[in-house]
């Protein structure tokens, strides 16, 4: 059995021997080479479009996956490519922000593209910032014009990137309920500038698993093991 998470940008697989693989979503077939559909538990946006024995939502997958690393987790924040999900494990409720791109990975991609850099560089640029640029917009489109204004006024790319991370963090922090053990997952969480901004804005430290982008694939696998 494998756990297969096919999201909007990347596809991830968790294999029983503890291995993970990540490819671009359009190449998801590489992950299931030689594996029969009856041995696949799928999750993610395209969970029903790929072969599977069982398909579960990312919300359930996240709950099962995060538990592997942090058995006493209270809240999971999953910052994905197209949406941000906040799951409160204490009372079995969840919130999804999928209307506005400003608190999702898509916004980071958009910013990086505008600045002519790679998304993977955002974290290092943030760490080199001297003074984060002030960005007030709650809307992603207006945030871009604010970034331009700050650069026209002389702010460095590093300061603008840090400012963008803080404004992103303020939006996501508003969705997070009061809790002590909050787990951050999703590919975006690899960006240390963003997690630093989020911790500063929320005033607490978060729990981050070693491979935050594969937690849902692992969760799908664990789900199948618990409910064969």
């Amino acid at each position: 059995m494998i756990g297969l998470d096919v999201g909007s940008t990347t596809a991830k697989a968790a294999y029983p021997e503890g291995k993970f693989r990540i490819v671009e979503s359009r190449n998801w077939r590489e992950l299931t080479d030689g594996i029969a559909p009856c041995d696949i538990v799928s999750t993610g946006y395209f969970r029903k479009s790929v072969p599977h024995k069982l398909a579960i939502t990312e919300i359930t997958a996240a709950a099962f996956g995060a538990r592997e690393y942090f058995p006493d987790a209270e809240v999971i924040v999953d910052i994905g490519g197209q949406d941000t999900k906040v799951i409160d494990l204490r009372n079995n409720t969840f919130l999804l922000n999928d209307k506005c791109s400003a608190g999702t990975g898509a916004f980071l991609e958009f910013t990086a593209k505008y600045l002519g850099i790679q998304v993977s560089e955002l974290g290092d640029l943030h760490m080199r910032a001297k003074k984060a640029a002030q960005l007030n917009s709650t809307c992603g489109v207006f945030a871009i014009s604010e970034m331009i204004s700050r650069m026209v006024e002389g702010a460095s790319v590093e300061d603008v990137v840090a400012g963008m991370h803080y404004s992103f963090a303020r939006r996501v922090a508003k969705l997070i309920p009061e809790a002590d053990r909050i787990v951050l997952i999703g590919g975006t969480v690899k960006n240390r500038g963003l997690t630093a901004a989020l911790e500063e804005v929320a005033g607490k430290r978060f729990l981050i698993p070693p491979a935050p982008q594969t937690v849902n694939a692992l969760g799908a696998l664990r789900y199948s093991e618990e409910r064969p």
């Binding site: 579960i56 939502t57 990312e58 919300i59 359930t60 709950a63 009372n91 079995n92 409720t93 969840f94 999804l96 999928d98």
Partner: protein, 316 residues
């Protein structure tokens, strides 16, 4: 304007249909035409009111007069109702009392009767009452899980206007099928979803909708005299204080033994502001969904319903 000969009277949800029938007219709930509409109103806040407004102004829905539920319910309806009136369709504005004052309610009903021509045939009160008694029996069957939530909803929602024809409507009050065993029972609170297949989608994820908050009001309220009607309709929960509505909700949710609650909210509707209060007060897992334009249930809403069903399965 006073209506004389038999007319089609458009209503925006809960206007006592007893009064319209008793005055010799046919009620037509304009909201019932919204979920399957392909209208794309240019100027809109809530798509419910903007869609019926456009359908009426473009004459895709024909009425001789429109009775707008304004006070105690919805200001978007008040504004869009006035736009319909300015477009040349006679409109009457009907107000519910926030404090449940039955004298106020009766005065509003008398004003409505005047607009409808002034002559009241009380036998119609009884006819509507009989249909509602039958409806209550079907509602009990849905509570017991003997008919599907989708079927019950289709019947309940039509009690706002009884399809304009009481005998024909009563003949239709036959549930289609006994529904399969669902995994969970849920209560659907808030305004009705603007999606035409919402109940079916919830059922496909194993959830039996055992309560439709607003449509149940259409069935529950009624009476055999003006005084009885006034007393009953003054208790319309959506027009009353949130505390009053919550007390009522708690009793209904307990009686129907639900495992969870879905709070449907509509884009640009003031009821969204009540979400936090409802979530804090109701002792059930609550899923809040928000809709905007009419049509089939969109994928992002389906994802939430599916995840909610999975969550109910994990509940201790």
């Amino acid at each position: 304007m006073i209506l004389t000969s038999m007319s089609t009277v458009g209503i925006t949800a809960l206007v006592p249909p007893e009064l319209i029938f008793a005055c010799g007219h046919m009620p037509l709930d304009v909201n019932n035409h919204v979920p399957s509409s392909a209208e794309h109103p240019v100027s809109k806040l809530c798509a419910w009111t903007a869609t019926w407004r456009e359908m009426l102004l473009q004459k895709r829905l024909q009425v001789d007069s429109l009775v707008v539920v304004a006070g105690g319910d919805c200001h978007n309806a008040l504004a869009d109702g006035q736009r319909v009136a300015l477009g040349g369709i006679p409109a009457h504005f009907f107000f519910y009392p926030f404090d449940g004052d039955t004298d106020y309610m009766e005065a509003q009903m008398q004003r409505l009767v005047l607009h409808l021509g002034g002559e009241v045939d009380k036998a119609k009160f009884r006819e509507v009452g009989l249909a509602k008694e039958l409806g209550m029996r079907l509602e009990q069957m849905r509570i017991e899980g003997r008919i599907s939530g989708a079927d019950a909803f289709r019947i309940l929602i039509s009690f706002s206007d009884l399809c304009g024809d009481i005998p024909a409507f009563m003949e239709q009050l036959v549930p289609e099928k006994r529904h399969e065993e669902a995994k969970f029972r849920v209560g659907l609170i808030g305004v009705p979803p603007i999606y035409k297949d919402f109940h079916e989608v919830a059922e496909s994820f194993g959830m039996h909708i055992a309560y439709d908050e607003l449509p149940y009001e259409f069935l529950r309220l009624g009476g055999n005299s003006m005084a009885e009607l006034a007393k009953s309709y003054a208790g319309y929960t959506f027009a009353r204080s949130l505390g009053y509505r919550l007390d009522f909700l708690e009793r209904e949710l307990a009686r129907r033994r639900v495992d969870g609650v879905i709070h449907y909210t509509q884009f640009a509707c003031h009821h969204l502001l009540e979400d936090d209060v409802l979530r804090r007060r109701l002792d059930y897992p609550v899923l809040t969904v928000q809709g905007d334009m009419p049509g089939s249930t969109p994928e992002q809403v389906k994802l939430r319903l599916e995840a909610f069903s999975e969550m109910l399965g994990r509940a201790p």
